[in-house]
Amino acid sequence: MSGDLNHLRGKFAIAGVATFGCGEAPGYTDMELLAQAARLAVADAGLTMKDIDGLCTASASSAMWSMPVVEYLGIRPRFVDATMIGGSSFIAHLMPAMQALESGQCDAVLVAYGSAQRTSTLSRKEIGKARLLMDPQPYEHPYQPMLPMSAYALAASRHMHDFGTTRRQLAQVAVSARQWARKNPDAFMRDPLTVDDVLNARMVSDPLTVRDACLVTDGGGAYVLVRADRARDLPQPPVYVLGQGTAVWNRQISSMADLTVTAATQSGRDAYAMAGMGPKDINVAELYDAFTINTLLFLEDLGFCAKGEAGAFVEDGHIAPGGSLPVNTNGGGLSWGHPGMYGIFAAIEGVRQLRGNAGDSQVAGAQTAIVHGNGGTLSSQSTAILGTAAAL
């Protein structure tokens, strides 16, 4: 049995973060959004692009994405990781980045992403067609599931069947996210939203309506990871990586052994083990909510509720503002925004909370955050536990 990586706990910190063009950025490309976010994150860290000697990035469309990013930014990194496991990639990148910093291979890793998904001139229909050709799934595509949404709908159907979870409980996830978004001027959708609004919205793939689904927005996001000793000399309060774990179990939803138990059970276990912490030690949770069922699954699989109990937990108001566990404090993929792959934005919101500059959505005294990314169709899961100096 390999070790719990406890020796890496607290040795690295996120020193800079930034987003750019989130919501709508008409006329921008993926790369331009990434580059602006990268520039701002490096500046936020008190560094210059010349200090960046490590890069992690991923793209949903370009197979060799790290090369044009290196070229565009004008950097000569000694460490490049372009692991692409969907929306969880940018949380998963933390571990290879830490290993590279630990070994001395590099001194400052930039993790960066950009997507012009909402306003891109290439329509999502065209992208969808290209994906069918480039990434065939011959045992699923003939049945025309509306992927990714139908995969999550299948998981929701099974959760409802096994545990009595209701559509109202799923809807409450979206309503709670909206209540957080209403506190965040950066959120894309801030109108009031009720459970009935969600239930009466256009059904897309039963039992999920369009309001059970994340938004489609543009946006770039980036963060900079350095060794902790260096972070303490930089302008921002360091946000330390206390634990990290990534798990990939399958690609197709039809290959999942139990649709109500995700690989977050493994990624969460590993992250908690490295941090020497458990769910009770977490002050804020940023859980990739591509669909309302995701939040329920991750609340359970990361240990905040027993299996099958997340529906009732959410219905009791626990994840909404004022609840016992602040979840998706920026409004999440459901209401803040969702530029194609959301994981990096969950991490950035965790940092924002731990720096104490989250404005009206600030969770008072937050010292620890769990940030969790999901990729594919419940296929990959990556979990990180972040903390302030007080949490070391």
Partner: protein
């Protein structure tokens, strides 16, 4: 050694095209295997044989994909557990989408359209809830 009939995906589809639904069984650990693979995901063995499953299954998870009537209307997508303990995606063809329920007993059929075989399922007689 390369199989002259091609890889297992081509062999699986060739059987479907002739109206036969065949899946694999591992000769080392005995597990049934679906989707078709060159090695057993249970034990890693490369020694797999084709066989015809009973075709009996149970709906494990279900969704109705909504589509405008002019585009063909709503349709079912299900995950089905076969008696042989494998799971696959398919659709139930002889029931309205809203009638397909988790736990429903279903039976495999192969439809062949212009020489291309596709695995679908029918709700079994009296099985509809």
């Amino acid at each position: 050694m390369v199989n002259q009939e091609g890889g297992v995906q081509a062999i699986y589809q060739a059987a479907l095209d002739q109206g036969r639904f065949e899946i694999q069984r591992c000769n080392d650990c005995g597990d049934a295997v679906f989707f078709p693979r060159e090695l057993c995901p249970g034990c890693g063995s490369g020694d797999l044989s084709w066989f015809r499953p009973s075709g009996k299954g149970t709906v494990y998870a279900v969704t109705t994909v909504r589509r405008k009537p002019e585009a063909g209307g709503d349709y079912n997508v299900s995950l089905i557990d076969l008696e042989e303990n494998v799971r696959l995606m398919s659709r139930i063809e002889n029931a309205a989408p809203e009638e397909v329920k988790i736990g429903m007993a279903v039976k495999a059929r192969v439809t062949v359209n212009e020489g291309h075989g596709l695995l679908v399922f029918h709700a079994m007689e009296g099985a509809a809830q």
